[in-house]
């Protein structure tokens, strides 16, 4: 045993917190080795005390599936209100695009789409709510980024909506492209990635702009309508929802440029892959259902068995997909029964026939030129 191993061991120990005192592969228990471990342990106790305290909560609830089943309710983190994605309706029932994911998972795991405790989370509280175990799943239009995945220790189980930053301008301005915005005043929410994206875009195109900093989206609506700025920029879905609320939406246009990637998806904690698999394949089941033509209308009929083996595998009349996930055979059928397949969920909550009126665009199936794609059920 030489001292060279101490460096890496220490790093592992401090980063992980829970791994302290584990043997380096190949090491034998010499007295020197034990002394090293002791030193490492003491240091870890000092350096990693907070980490340990933080992870203790997570480690104790490693079997999320068992916890959820024992509780009989899924704790699902949603937004404190985003048009089309999550909001309580007049009877106090949560509905929306993200909410449907929560309900689908609850239906798959517990057999009841209403066995969900919706926990509203703000942009500030969402990650701690998930990390501390207050929620089992966060379905809150959260952009998948490297630092959130790696540094905050979450697992993004997929993408349920591909968003991107866009521009809205009054039709009277007569512009058709964001590149014509030289010298424009732009309403922008401060402290968001959109602010940075905007600066990048204008610099790359060598044109100038004047930012009008805004705190909230509601304020931005008022400012934009009052003419305080020429254009308003935020996520394209947010722009569409904002425009839908105007008295005369036809007087405003969304410019074709999308200047950033915002893949939004549900996420779970690191460290419980079985639970992550369940959420991932629930989302995939909705997507595959659209691809294979399973809808809420023909679900019961197809569940009885069809000629298509993949449909049979998803709906549980063939194979043992549910058993592999630790669920029963009809798990995916129940998830699809909540709001139909991905296309139906999209159309009901944010699609072209809703006031928000989003077209599928990037969120069309891969077979229709979009990015929505599910690995095979096999």
């Amino acid at each position: 045993m030489n001292w060279h191993t101490i460096g890496p061991t220490e790093r592992v120990t401090h980063a992980g917190g829970m791994k302290m005192g584990t043997n380096v592969p190949g090491s034998r228990c010499s007295t020197q080795r034990m002394y090293q471990e002791e030193v490492i342990m003491n240091k870890s106790v000092f350096f990693g005390a907070l980490t340990v305290a933080g992870l203790a909560a997570v480690a104790a609830s490693a079997g999320t599936l068992d916890d959820v089943k024992a509780r009989g309710k899924l704790n699902c983190g949603v937004s404190t209100g985003l048009v089309g994605f999550a909001a309580p309706d007049a009877s106090g029932r949560w509905a929306g695009f993200d909410v449907t994911i929560c309900r689908a998972v609850a239906a798959a795991v517990l057999g009841d789409q209403d066995a969900v405790e919706f926990v509203p989370t703000t942009g500030k509280t969402r990650f701690t709510a998930l990390a501390s175990g207050e929620v089992d799943l966060l379905a809150r239009n959260t952009t998948w980024t490297l630092s959130r995945d790696v540094d905050l220790k979450f697992t993004f189980i997929g993408v349920n909506y591909y968003d991107g930053q866009g521009f809205m301008a009054p039709k009277a301005l007569g512009i058709s492209s964001a590149k014509e915005l030289d010298g424009a005043t732009v309403c922008i929410q401060t402290g968001t990635t959109t602010e940075l994206n905007l600066a990048d875009f204008f610099r790359a195109n060598n044109i100038s702009y004047e930012p009008v900093p805004i705190e909230t989206n509601a304020e931005a609506q008022q400012q934009y309508l009052a003419g305080a700025c020429d254009v308003f920029t935020t996520d394209a879905s947010g722009l569409a929802a904002t425009r839908a609320a105007f008295e005369s939406p036809g007087d405003h246009v969304l410019l074709p440029e999308i200047i950033s990637k915002e893949p939004l998806g549900p996420l779970v904690r690191h460290g419980d892959n079985e639970w992550g698999d369940i959420v991932r394949w629930t989302l995939n089941a909705l997507i595959s259902a659209e691809e294979l033509g399973i809808t809420s209308a023909n679900l019961a009929e197809l569940s009885a068995g069809t000629n298509n083996p993949e449909v049979n595998r998803i709906l549980g009349s063939e194979g043992n997909m549910g058993e592999m996930l630790g669920l029963d055979a009809a798990w995916a059928a129940r998830a699809i029964a909540v709001g139909g397949n991905y296309a139906e969920v999209f159309e009901t909550n944010i699609g072209e026939n809703t006031p928000i009126g989003l077209s599928r665009g990037l969120n069309a199936l891969w077979t229709d030129g979009g990015l929505i794609y599910s690995p095979p059920f096999r």
Partner: protein, 434 residues
């Protein structure tokens, strides 16, 4: 010589004359108050114009509003049909549709009678405290309500509040017993200790045991269902009623001659006053869930209540200390010369005067506290502001702003104005100066 016919002194009184017409009645008042000189006259005209232009815009908007519609766009159609294209009017339909949610949040609607009853009970409980005219027997309601009201709101077995109340009985008997056997001081320590031990370790066994023998319970409602003004009032009332006694104790502790007690009180007050409330709320929401052992079910509303109470107590202590400092030393010396001990002096002489002086400060702390409860929307509790965001996130009501915030502001104004009027009544009642 004497000619009595010529008199130099008037023998009968002159008749009272009416004052000049320009100085009485409406004209006099207007002249005296609105147009006493040229500058004031100009300012009056300008002010009247400003008030007119404000009201002429606001009143038609408020009273021309639409009360029945299913969505903002429907509202706009109705307004356009009634007042012509481009007319502005309020869309109160959103308040009409979502009124109960703004009041009770997610609380199950078949159980609305419980918060309502709790509110009635609350008024019955505070009546004897606030008004001298109320029957003294109502103090029994005051004593019982801290146990009954939470039971009504959260539901569950009736034995939990009863056993919690038992704690005080037990604490009292332990105090009596120890005080008889040994000294009064030991009793003062042993009594509360017994109370805490009972609450922490024994009462849950007792209540669950009794509940299994005599199951008597209300349908439980989870804290997460609480919302709207019910939550704001619950947090406000708890904060106000708990922070007042704690504030008095802290203020006295800060004036104490006992070094450790004084240091603790000063440290607590300065620490809490040096930290913004929102930080404390984040600690309650976020930090505690990291540091408490996993699976600990420490109710979020209870955590927030504790934080708000601690915060308000520190401010209350300083307000009351101001009242104590305003008392002349003669009052303390007078109490001493009468042979009163410390607590008697505080109860009979010092506190009644100090509190009277502090009334405006106390009430403005209360009002501030009640308004501060809206901060909980930032830690995603669904108070009225939280519900405004929820409602705006519905496709039907997206884009509605003034009506919702205006309504919330109006209800808050009613409560705060009521508190302010009460404090003025109390000041008039307690006024002893001449």
């Amino acid at each position: 010589m004497a000619n009595t016919e010529i008199s130099f002194v008037r023998t009968e009184m002159l008749q009272e004359q009416a004052p000049p017409a320009l100085n009485v009645g409406l004209v006099g008042w207007v002249r005296g108050n609105l147009f006493p000189d040229v500058l004031s006259g100009i300012l009056t005209v300008v002010a009247l114009y400003l008030i007119y232009s404000l009201l002429s815009g606001l009143l038609p908007w408020v009273f021309g509003g639409v009360w029945n519609a299913g969505s903002l766009s429907e509202c706009r159609e109705i307004i356009a049909a009634a007042h012509g294209e481009g007319a502005e009017a309020a869309c109160w339909a959103v308040i009409h549709e979502r009124f109960w949610q703004l009041m009770y949040g997610f609380y199950p609607d078949h159980l609305y009678w419980r918060p309502n009853l709790a509110l009635v009970l609350l008024f019955a409980a505070i009546a004897p405290v606030l008004f001298e005219g109320a029957p003294r027997k109502m103090f029994w309601i005051t004593a019982a309500s801290p146990f009954i009201i939470p039971w009504l709101l959260w539901g569950g077995t009736v034995w939990v509040p009863i056993m919690a109340a038992m704690g005080f009985v037990i604490g009292y008997f332990v105090y009596k017993l120890v005080a008889q056997v040994s000294s009064n001081l030991l009793g003062l320590i042993a009594g509360p200790l017994a109370l805490v031990i009972w609450w922490l370790f024994l009462s849950s066994y007792a209540s669950s045991g009794l509940a299994s023998v005599i199951p008597l319970e209300l349908e439980p409602v989870a804290s997460r269902k609480f919302g709207g003004f019910m939550l704001a009032i619950l947090l406000g009332v708890t904060g106000i009623s708990m922070s007042f006694p704690i504030g008095i104790v802290l203020a006295l502790g800060r004036q104490s001659n006992l070094v450790i007690i004084k240091a603790l009180c000063v440290g607590f007050i300065e620490f809490i006053r040096g930290v913004p409330l929102i930080t404390l709320l984040f600690v309650a929401q976020v930090m505690l869930s990291y540091f408490l052992p996993a699976g600990t079910d420490f109710d979020i509303i209870l955590r927030v209540m504790i934080m708000i109470t601690l915060f308000a107590s520190a401010y209350m202590a300083e307000v009351i200390r101001g009242g104590l400092a305003a008392l002349p030393t003669g009052q303390y010396e007078g109490a001493d010369s009468l042979g009163l001990d410390y607590w008697q002096a505080q109860r009979l002489i010092i506190m009644p005067q100090a509190l009277k002086i502090s009334i405006p400060g106390i009430v403005s702390t209360f009002i501030g506290l009640f308004k501060d409860t809206t901060l909980v929307s930032i830690i995603s509790l669904s108070d009225p502001i939280g519900w405004v965001k929820f409602i705006q996130a519905n496709a039907e009501w997206n884009g509605i702003v003034w009506e919702l915030y205006g309504f919330v502001a109006f209800v808050f104004f009613l409560f705060c104005f009521g508190m302010s009027r009460y404090s003025m009544y109390l000041e008039r009642k307690l006024k002893t100066g001449h």
